[in-house]
Amino acid sequence: MKLGSFKYLAGEGVKSAWVNRLMTLASIGVLVACMVIIGLAILVSENVNKAIGNLEQQNVVMAYMKDYNWALYGEDSGNSASSQTADSDSSQQETASVEENVASDETASDETAESTEEADENGIRPGDYVIHNEQEARALCDEIAKLPNVAEVTYVSSEEGLESVKESMLEGQEEYFTFLDEEYGNPMSCAAKIRMEDMSLFDETIKEIEKFDGIDAIQSQDDLAETINAIKNGIGVAGVWIIAILMIISLVIVSNTIRVTMYNRKLDISIMKAVGATDAFVRIPFVVEGVIIGLISAVIAEGILYFCYRVATETIISTLQTTDVVRYSEMALLLFLVFVGIGIFAGVLGSVIMISKYLRREGSEFAAI
């Protein structure tokens, strides 16, 4: 098609939108409403995602290591504070059970060598535990950090761990840990504080961390991870449904306007067909009209949403004393593109569906208009 013809047809589309301005305005009104609701759904979803992101940041996992304190106090090690006073026979047996828990990749000869090492005053030998010093603990942290879904790993020494536990205790409970510390020494093992990237991969990542020999136990908030994932999935599904339903409404609205225009232009269409216009040629003015409706709606929807969102966020910020909301400027381009996309989609598809249905019905060229 020549550019001149297209200009002529585009002009016809603009003219048609103006001639049917009441219908055009009604369609724009409904389309704007649909777009604003879609925009709100996107903004709410973004804000919830941001809030969840903050929760995810706080949802850390503590991986406690098999260090000296673990060998001394850990339940798995078989040693306990009271075991320090146990006779040598029972100590021998307990040591054997500790040996079963140490790194599996050690060779049989190593094990033999370790079993001959001398026990300290607590009856613990170097072979009874895996992490012997801070350097090894930090090296393990580095290994964990290499896992795919791990965003950040921080080394937490046993002293820091004890302080942290004391801080989180209720009044009175804290004293028990202080007593333990003073009487028997710090009961806490050193740990890796781990933050994950994607909470939906929580279980898989935990399994990977557990595979490390130096890791004894993992403390996490599984329920929080599950809740976060459930909220995320729920928002995703609801968003898709809202957008799909409103897209269909938009399509129906634009189709209806185009249908009215089409019946208003029956005479033009019959003449066009009689003189040899192709179906594509007949369609163009209607498609242009549909796109005009869509684009005007997109611009108006962007303006209304900007105003509404600004008022809403200002109220939220002043009421909740938080600045933790998504800024409109961050989303403005995306929303405008979404609106333009919806407008063009509804305009083109709505008009093409309607006019094609009409054009398929042959026999209108000679029939009385």
């Binding site: 098609m1 020549k2 001149g4 013809s5 002529y8 001639v19 005479l267 033009d268 019959s270 003449i271 066009m272 067909k273 009689a274 003189v275 040899g276 216009a277 192709t278 179906d279 040629f281 042959e362 026999g363 209108s364 060229e365 000679f366 009385a368 208009i369």
Partner: protein
């Protein structure tokens, strides 16, 4: 355009521009509009199609325009085999013909020039070509000075002349006029048929449906008479 729809035989001189072979058309309700119609109209002929209401005239015209499809038989028009032709080629067929309607079919929001130019825009013409050809067509029908008038400012005869100019503007090989004098006064009817006769003399085939026996009698052209969906008379001399 695919060559399979062009009948090479029909493009030779002295060969029919319209040919019906054993054509029948029955509408879905069971109405037999045409039955076993056989006819040939040669290039350059002027043919009146007459008959009472329900005789099958409109169906005959619709089949030529491929607005309807025949149930049986073969139809060839302007080198197109309408029996085999796919729907997407209908616009190409129609670009070879000009159509004049009984009710003029002028777009009321366009002036005379725009109404005629519309037929050229539809087939992809633009700019200077449109201005030149529209002016020429309007001069041919004697409306060169009414280019800026709106349809409602014109008489019935003038409106039909605009319709005629629109049919002529793309220089078609065939003009199909569906009762072009049905809504104009008798004097204007003669003027319109005179114009069609002039156009015909320049080589364009004209097929005109009419109820006006005076016109048929006074203009000595070939007459095809339809009755009950059949051709009951076909006279090349004009005397029935």
């Amino acid at each position: 355009m695919e060559q399979q729809f062009i009948d090479s035989e029909i493009l030779k001189p002295q060969t029919p521009i319209i040919e019906f072979r054993g054509v029948s058309k029955t509408y879905p309700g069971g109405t037999h509009a045409l039955e076993d119609v056989n006819i040939k109209i040669n290039k350059g002929e002027f043919v009146f199609v007459v008959g009472s209401s329900g005789a099958g005239k409109s169906t005959f015209m619709k089949l030529i325009m491929r607005e309807e499809k025949a149930n049986t038989g073969i139809i060839r028009v302007n080198g197109f085999n309408l029996t085999e032709m796919k729907r997407k080629y209908v616009p190409m067929l129609r670009r070879t013909m000009g159509i004049v309607f009984q009710d003029f079919r002028l777009i009321p929001t366009m002036n005379v020039f725009q109404n005629v130019a519309f037929a050229m825009y539809v087939v992809g013409a633009t700019g200077r070509d449109v201005r030149r050809e529209v002016s020429k067509a309007l001069s041919k029908v004697g409306l060169g000075n009414k280019a800026r008038s709106m349809p409602n400012q014109l008489s019935g005869g003038e409106q039909q002349r605009v319709g005629l100019a629109r049919a002529l503007v793309n220089s078609p090989d065939l003009i199909i006029a569906d009762e072009p004098t049905g809504n104009v006064d008798p004097n204007m009817s003669y003027e319109i048929v005179n114009m069609l006769t002039e156009i015909n003399k320049q080589g364009t085939t004209v097929l005109m449906v009419t109820h006006d026996h005076n016109l048929v009698r006074d203009f000595h052209h070939r007459v095809i008479m339809l009755d009950g969906g059949k051709i009951v008379a076909d006279n090349a001399g004009g005397d029935l």
